[in-house]
């Protein structure tokens, strides 16, 4: 087990190296000169072409790509994540440190509720297969998968904030400042962010559960005189969740992806917004730093998912 984890961590380092290198190259293909962002317009006019080249040189932007990457990586390893080109002199690590907790707050809530509600819906649908509860749950799941986040966000805003005035329109308040306000502000963003995952988890749970409840060992469980609830929870659920865990691991990626959209719609100052701003402004160091952090989180959650298989399925061996 320990050797397995160590091997996976070594793999993770390589994955992160490849990922950051690709992004490093890709951002430099984006239209827009970072220098123009760094210096404001009057500066540029005032500076001679030689001075511009000089500035470019000081930022290291004139070097070979591999050399630039090597320098960046060396700095990162020493704890220097560089400075934003766009917000002059803002420390990248600090920027990420401010934005990340916001997205994690949003993402953890979305992950938790999409899993719990999705699994519950899926189980109910499977156990009541073909009856009205199944029809309703399946309809909800299918709607959840297909609903466009952007549209849902705006409709909810119009209904619950503008018309009914139940919820704040947008914005973010940290949980430790005002728990109630913070939660009220997050209700709509969390719903938007989790809705797709919820549908996917519900559908997969239903399929998987239907497969499990016709297995021989479920018949054995019935023959022991257990109640239906005990059979579903103790005998069927754990087996049914094995494929669902995989999908839940994948959801972490979709949640970061979705955050870009949701944070924009609800004006939440999280990683998603930071990334959009950084790409708009060709803010290379910020993009690179953000990608690295998100990469680390995704790689680690995948590892956690793989390890949790062992708990769900004792047949899994880690070698």
């Amino acid at each position: 087990m320990v050797t397995y984890i160590i091997r996976r961590l070594i793999q993770a380092v390589f994955i992160l190296l490849i990922l950051t290198f690709i992004v490093f190259g890709a951002v430099r293909l984006l239209p827009g000169d970072p220098l123009l962002m760094f210096l404001n317009a009057t500066d540029i006019e005032a500076l001679s072409p030689e001075a511009l080249d000089q500035a470019r040189h000081e930022l290291g932007l004139d070097r070979n790509l591999v050399v630039q990457y090597g320098i960046w990586l060396g700095d990162i390893l020493q704890g220097d994540w560089g400075k934003s080109l766009h917000f002059k002199n803002a420390n990248v690590l600090q920027m990420i440190g401010q934005r990340m907790p916001v997205t994690i707050h949003l993402g953890v809530l979305a992950f938790f509720f999409s899993s719990v509600i999705g699994i519950t819906l899926g189980v109910i649908a499977a156990v009541r297969r073909g009856r009205w509860a199944d029809t309703v749950a399946t309809l909800l799941a299918n709607t959840a998968i297909t609903i466009p986040i952007f549209w849902l966000g705006i409709i909810m805003m119009l209904v619950f904030s503008v018309e009914l005035e139940w919820l704040p329109v947008a914005g973010y308040t940290p949980i430790n400042e005002d728990f109630w306000l913070s939660t009220r502000k997050l209700i709509m963003p969390v719903i938007c962010l989790m809705i797709g995952s919820l549908g996917a988890v519900a559908r997969l749970t239903r399929t998987s559960m239907l497969e499990v409840i016709r297995q021989d060992y479920i018949r054995t469980a019935w023959s022991k005189g257990l109640r239906e609830r005990a059979i579903v929870i103790k005998h069927a659920l754990k087996n049914s969740l094995i494929p669902v865990i995989t999908v839940m691991g994948l959801q972490v990626r979709f949640i970061f992806g979705g955050a870009v959209l949701v944070e924009k719609v609800f004006a939440i100052p999280g990683m998603g917004r930071l990334m959009v701003e950084a790409v708009d402004g060709s803010d290379y160091p910020v993009i690179q730093g953000a990608v690295l952090v998100i990469g680390i989180i995704v790689v680690l959650t995948n590892l956690i998912v793989d390890i949790s298989y062992g708990w769900f399925d004792p047949r899994v061996r880690y070698e």
Partner: protein, 328 residues
Amino acid sequence: MTLLTVENLKTYFHTDFGLVKAVDGVSYEINEGEIVGIVGESGCGKSVTQLSTLQLITSPPGMIEDGKVIFDGRNLLDYPANGPEMRSIRGGKIAMIFQEPMTSLNPTLSVFQQISEMLSLHLQMDKETQRKRAIELLTQVGIPDAKRRIDDYPHQFSGGMRQRVMIAMALSCNPKLLIADEPTTAVDVTTQAQLLLLMQNLVRQYHTSLIIVTHNLGVVARYAQRIYVMYAGRIVESGSCDDIFNQPKHPYTIGLLKCVPRLDEEEDRRLVPIEGLPPNLINMPPTCAFLPRCPYKIDRCREEPWPALKPVGNQQVACYVDTKLTVQ
């Protein structure tokens, strides 16, 4: 004392392809402490019969259409399928062992978890007593080093060992009746003999009745006191084990015996399989289902419906032909 009486049991499956009369008017009984064999080819409805007595048929498509299952003076079919009465019978009074040891145990629960849930459900034992009892049971069914292996998962046991675990589990709450549905089909011949002997010893020790379901007459020969022969959803012959073996009356039983090797015979005998295939149970004709394969058939068989069981000597036989008089 009769322990269980099944009367005119009918279980049908309403499928897209038509009505499958898997069990079509089956009656049998078993006394306390008795071992009874139910024999028939694959697909003749043996499992469905046994599952029906405990109302374990998945519905839809399965449906118990008619019949009575009298146990302890009560008709079990009067109770709702998963209601409290049925649940206290299952595992507590009537326990089952299934065909497939590889898939009949839950892969994600340890052997202890699977045995102990029955002990706490039916006997309200506390955790410590459950553990002691489970270890005792596993030792009894011949699992070496039971104390250590009790927390292992099913995949860590061989097929034969898993079936032993199933036996331990089934007997854990001292049921009055044990139904073993082809308990040895999936294991090798040596293991098969060991498991059967083990079950015989255990049911004798606890005075439990045992129904052995099998497609192999040879399996029940040594252990069962009485035998029911099933064909296409019905019982076609029944009688004591000796009678069935020494003077089979139904052409199907005669055919079955021809394909069982016997150790007690001096001369070499060729094993002959029954020709043809068992019938498809969908939309059966009203005549005897064995007719197309029967070497003894007479005109009457084609004209009249499937005959009911009637006494012939000490046996019950469902056939128009007196097979003893017919020279083959």
